[in-house]
Amino acid sequence: MSVLIYLIPISLALGAAGLVAFLWSLRNGQYQDLDGAAERVLFDDEDGPAG
């Protein structure tokens, strides 16, 4: 029983961290171009992404 006192907050905190990470990636435009991102990984530019 006493172990739950800290295990429950930990499990909730981990879940919340995942949620925050998702919301951040959403806000950051990570889902703007899913098809393009799949292709861009194959570009082998020396100096980073084009533009």
Binding site: M1, L4, I8, S11, L12, G15, A16, G18, L19, F22, L23, L26, Q32, D33, L34, D35, G36, A38, E39, R40, L42, F43, A50, G51
Partner: protein, 744 residues
């Protein structure tokens, strides 16, 4: 996509500047739609071609939306982006401005939060169901309540808002029973948690929210994508025009700032921005998008031209007659708004179901409460059972039944180049029994075609015609095979024709009263779909032109007839041209010479006779009719306002998209009905158990998930071809020829 079609027009730099917006750090940004992007290689080509331009600061191409966002330093003229992209083989035009979709962002956030809450509360619930002790159960219920409350407020507000607005207007929709069920279940569970009770439904509350939000989010994303795709089509009307000031200076003004009396300089290939009168210059006008007339018209000074008319052959000076807000286009928009009233009378099938369903469920819950209260005298027990009735019948499956099918149907249409702008349009389309077509630009491609492709002297005519942009000249060039004689000293006289020299002879091609020294046949001059070739004033040949049918027009009409639809043509063109097309397609009902208001009247007469009409049209003059019809469809090269008015927009040239869309819509209607049957069956089974007080939170959670999955799985059958005996045949046909998918 008709990017290279006859109506395509590259935007001028002034227009690009007008469409761009200022972003941070002295940068301007514009979004170009590049429909040709289809692979990673294209991304690189496009970005590198733009990055090579001096003033471009950043170019980021997007494969999903087939567009590129270009930023350049503010203060310098916009870089030659369209030209740079054309040089690497990509046609580009101005797209919709990048605009954040607030509703979608809110829905996705609500969905993510509901998903988080569902998984965490479910963890607690599983251990409670597994038989946790009293102390642990109380702690877990309290933790669940703490998670569920903010989620109910944040993720549930979509439903509360919609339910409240429905109730305030004295209506009911699906969100009313959902909101009542969610609130009562939460309140009851909270009360039980505080009292140390055994059952809490927090898991059911958040799971219901999560499932319903999936449906809502998919539904919204489908419409947002269609809206964006339609918005990205090349605009036909210019955003502005080059004006000549009283002192002879030239300035580029947005169309809204043009005032009556101002002088407009209209280059060949541009569209008239506002209603105007010709001051000087001679040219030919293409009014097909405005009035439906297929034959080009020669201008004369003083002639009135409507906004939207295309100037074909030579520059014109025009005097604006009215402001943009009072132009022909604005008049069409007003008629559309008036005609749209018919649409709003249609009640969505989900709302019709809710109107029957909500009173039924709520009275069942109330009866269960009263029955148990009187029978056992235990108010708390009675309330618990009433809440379990509400939860078990909460229309989770019903809430998903319609949107899931519509999303799957829309996706299937999207793959075949048909954009669904509204789920309600899909429902209305399934009921259609009459299809009404516009002629010019819809049944026909709007480009003339030579009637006698093997005419004598065609080579000579084509050699002259190669110097003109007139549609007849282009048709002659397109019909020519083999070598052409050399023609020199060619000059074009707009409104008359083309003149050139072949050796010592003077060759003329154009209107017969100008081409011939002594025009003999009066009717030849009157006949506008004819052009004459002469040598030294003596007639060599007449060339007659037909409207070219859009690909698939005949097959589409036949397929529609097979599907049990009547077909008709309503056109603004002359009776001869309409009768000819109708005869070629086998359409017996047609009317010609109709004004936009006449088309609306005809559609209203059909509606009064109980017919459900699908209007297919492209022109400005069709826009009010598109709004007046029960459901409407427009090709992607339709006038801007028509595209915005239509429920469906098809991107590919072939009209076979129409029977295909109709058959998908009808199949979607069948699946929606099956889904309702599934949901009702589930309720009929579950309700007695709930009323008898046998439903625990575990049973409620299981029943809810299973019924939702059943509905979703049924909707996905739309993807797997047709049910029944034609199923296998249909699939085989699709595999061989992916474009001809309408086969019934």
């Amino acid at each position: 996509m008709n990017a290279g079609g006859p109506h395509h027009r590259a935007p001028s730099r002034e227009e690009i500047l007008l469409a761009s917006c200022q972003v941070a750090k002295n940068l301007r940004e514009v979004r170009l739609s590049v429909p040709g992007i289809h692979c990673g290689g294209c991304l690189r080509t496009v970005e590198q071609a733009l990055a090579r331009l001096d003033t471009v600061a950043e170019a980021r191409a997007n494969l999903t939306s087939r567009s590129v966002i270009v930023r350049w330093r503010d203060g310098v003229p916009p870089p030659a982006m369209i030209e740079a992209l054309a040089a690497v083989g990509h046609a580009a035009h101005l797209g919709e401005a990048p605009r954040a979709d607030k509703i979608q962002a809110e829905l996705v956030r609500s969905l993510a939060i509901a998903g988080f809450a569902t998984s965490n509360i479910m963890l607690f619930s599983v251990s409670v169901w597994a038989g946790a002790g009293d102390g642990i159960r109380a702690v877990f219920h309290a933790a669940s309540a703490l998670i569920a409350l903010p989620v109910l407020v944040y993720s549930g507000r979509t439903f509360y808002r919609s339910a409240w607005s429905a109730v305030r207007h004295g209506r009911t929709n699906m969100d009313v029973p959902i909101s009542i069920g969610l609130t009562l279940a939460f309140a009851m569970s909270l009360y039980d948690t505080l009292q140390g009770g055994q059952h809490a439904y927090f898991d059911a509350v958040v799971m219901l929210l999560f499932f319903l939000l999936i449906g809502r989010t998919l539904d919204h994303a489908m419409r947002a994508r269609a809206r964006r795709a339609v918005g990205d089509l090349a605009r036909l009307a210019a955003r502005g025009a080059m004006m000549e000031g009283p002192d002879g200076t030239h300035t580029y003004l947005p169309a809204e700032e043009i005032r009556p009396g101002m002088t407009i300089l209209l280059a060949a290939g541009e569209r008239v921005p506002v209603d105007a009168r010709v001051l000087s210059g001679t040219s030919d006008l293409d009014r097909s998008l405005v009035t439906g007339e297929s034959a080009p018209q020669a201008t004369a000074p003083g002639m009135a031209v409507e906004a939207g008319t295309l100037n074909l052959t030579a520059p014109l000076r025009l005097q604006a007659r009215s402001a943009a807000s009072e132009s022909f286009l604005a008049e069409m928009t007003r008629m559309m708004t008036a005609a749209e009233a018919g649409h709003s009378r249609y009640k969505l099938v989900a709302d019709r179901a809710a109107a029957l369903y909500a009173p039924l469920v709520h009275s069942a819950a109330l009866l269960a409460f009263l029955g148990w209260a009187f029978a056992s005298g235990d108010i708390h027990r009675a309330a618990e059972i009433a809440v379990s009735v509400l939860i078990i019948t909460c229309p989770c499956a019903l809430g998903l039944a319609v949107p899931i099918v519509q999303v799957v149907a829309a996706r299937r249409m999207f793959e075949h180049g048909v954009m669904v702008r509204d789920g309600a349009g899909l429902e209305r389309l399934a009921d259609v029994d009459t299809v009404v077509f516009d002629k010019t630009g819809t049944l026909t491609s709007g480009e003339p075609q030579l009637r006698q492709p093997s005419a004598t002297h065609l080579g000579l005519a084509a050699a002259l015609a190669a110097h003109s942009r007139h549609p007849y000249a282009r048709a002659l060039v397109a019909a020519r095979h083999g070598p052409a004689p050399i023609v020199t000293d060619v000059r074009e006289l707009p409104g008359r024709g083309i003149e050139g020299r072949c050796g010592s002879d003077v060759i003329r091609l154009g209107r017969s009263d100008w081409v011939l020294d002594a025009p003999r046949h009066i009717q030849e001059i009157a006949s506008s779909s004819c052009t004459t070739l002469s040598r030294n004033g003596a007639c060599l040949a007449h060339f007659h032109f037909d409207d070219r049918l859009r690909p698939g027009a005949g097959a589409a009409i036949r397929a529609l007839t097979e599907q049990g639809c009547a077909t008709a043509i309503l056109s603004g063109d002359h009776i001869v041209a309409v009768a000819d097309i109708a005869a070629r397609l086998g359409v017996t009902q047609f009317e010609a010479g109709l004004l936009p208001a006449d088309k609306v009247t005809r559609l209203q007469m059909l509606a009064a006779a109980g017919r459900k009409t699908l209007m297919v049209g492209d022109g400005l003059n069709d826009a009010p009719a598109l709004a007046a019809a029960c459901v409407s469809m427009a090709p992607s090269d339709a006038a801007d306002v028509g595209r915005q008015a239509a429920d469906f927009v098809f991107l590919r040239a072939s009209l076979e998209a129409i029977p295909f869309t109709l058959s998908v819509a009808r199949r979607a209607r069948t699946l929606i009905r099956q889904n309702f049957a599934l949901a009702i069956l589930y309720n009929a089974i579950a309700l007695p158990f709930a009323v008898a007080g046998l439903v625990t939170p575990l049973a409620a959670a299981l029943a809810m998930s299973v019924s939702s999955l059943a509905v979703v799985a049924n909707a996905l059958r739309l993807n797997s071809g047709r049910a029944g005996k034609s199923g296998r045949q249909g699939r085989m046909l699709r595999r061989r020829t992916p474009v001809v998918q309408f086969a019934e």
